[in-house]
Structures are given as structure tokens and as C-alpha cells.
Symmetry: C2
Subunit: 113 residues, 2 copies
């Protein structure tokens, strides 16, 4: 069974999170479920990975947080994308397209043999 290793997706966790925040503010648990759903369970982000990404991106100014003492359930920390975060996301998309092209030069297509 082929699954996605962390080293591969490594450079794209931030991008994935930002993508999901483009639709509007969200919080950790919701993001993690969306990643699971959108990837058909092929990629399940680890909690520690996710929350450390939040911290890192907030420090870098890509996202902003605000706390909500929820009516029901536990208190949540919501995150929203900043202008700078949007720029970063766009850069990453361009980088992805380039990287994809380059890596594909080193991948054998044929499954034959």
C-alpha cells in the first residue's frame, strides 16, 4: 500500500492549511478533518504538525488568531489568512508548479516491467 510520507508533503503543510483558510477563518480540529476529507483519507495531518504550523505561520505573519469562547463545546482558536499569507500561498503555488515539472523529469512513467 502506497501512502504519503511526511518528507514529501513537508514543504506543503503550510500551503494546504492556507488553502483551507482561504474560504474563511477556521480552527485546528476543523482544518485537520477537512484535510482528511479532501484527500480521501490519503493524508492525515498529525496534531502536533498542524498546531506547530499555526504557531510558525502566525509568527511569520501569514495568519492571525482570535479566541472564541464557544457557546457549546470547548474554547477554540480561530485563524484567518493575512494579506502576506495570501502572497505566500500564491508563491507556493507557483513553486509547486515548477517543482512538479522538475521532479517529473526524474520519474519513470511506465509501470510496465
Amino acid at each position: 500500500m502506497v501512502s504519503i510520507s511526511s518528507d514529501v508533503i513537508r514543504g506543503y503543510n503550510d500551503t494546504i492549511i492556507l488553502y483551507l483558510l482561504l474560504d474563511g477563518p477556521s480552527y485546528g480540529y476543523e482544518i485537520s478533518k477537512k484535510i482528511k476529507d479532501l484527500s480521501d483519507e490519503k493524508y492525515i495531518i498529525k496534531q502536533t504538525t498542524l498546531y506547530s504550523a499555526f504557531t510558525r505561520m502566525e509568527k511569520n505573519g501569514y495568519i492571525e488568531s482570535y479566541s472564541v469562547d464557544a457557546e457549546s463545546g470547548k474554547r477554540r482558536t480561530y485563524y484567518r489568512v493575512t494579506e502576506s499569507g495570501l502572497d505566500y500561498y500564491r508563491e507556493k503555488c507557483n513553486e509547486w508548479n515548477l517543482t512538479k515539472e522538475v521532479i517529473e523529469r526524474f520519474i519513470r512513467k511506465e509501470d510496465g516491467e
Copy 2:
């Protein structure tokens, strides 16, 4: 200018190296030049990254080395792919195809705006 960051290619250095060794044995310096050429200089692997990949892959049994006291030029260490290395390469290719699909779900195509 968009260039490829190491975090992105991170999980694929081994794959790239194995790909180049599929054509026949080669050595560090040659591999590094081939990567530069084949990627149109978009990706230039660092020496330390390359040689540590060799060490790691040999330890894992994916490649084998042999020294050649060259007639001309300096002494080289050649590497060749093993059966296990070939299997690993094929796995990585499959993983790449999966990863590519998944990441693309989080990438906005439109450059508009």
C-alpha cells in the same frame, strides 16, 4: 524569481539520484551535474546533501559502492543501484503520483487576480 526550496524536494533527493543511477553506475560529481542539467539549473543539489544521501542509501541497501583509482582525474567512488533500490525507486514513483494528486487539490490553478 521562483526557485525550488529544499523542503519541497526533500523527500525526492533519493528518488532523483536513483533515477540517474538507473542508466548505469555513476559518482557524486557526475550526478550533481546531471541534476543541474536535467533540471535546467532549477535545482542544484548541495554536495553535503548528495553525499549524505549516498551514505544513507548504501546503509539501506539501495545502492552499492566501489572505488576506482581513475586513470585520469581523481579517485572516485562509484555507486550502482541494487534490486532493493530499484524496488524503492518504483515505490517512490507511485508515491509521487499519489502525492501529486493530493497536493493539487490544495493548489489554486487560476493565476488571475
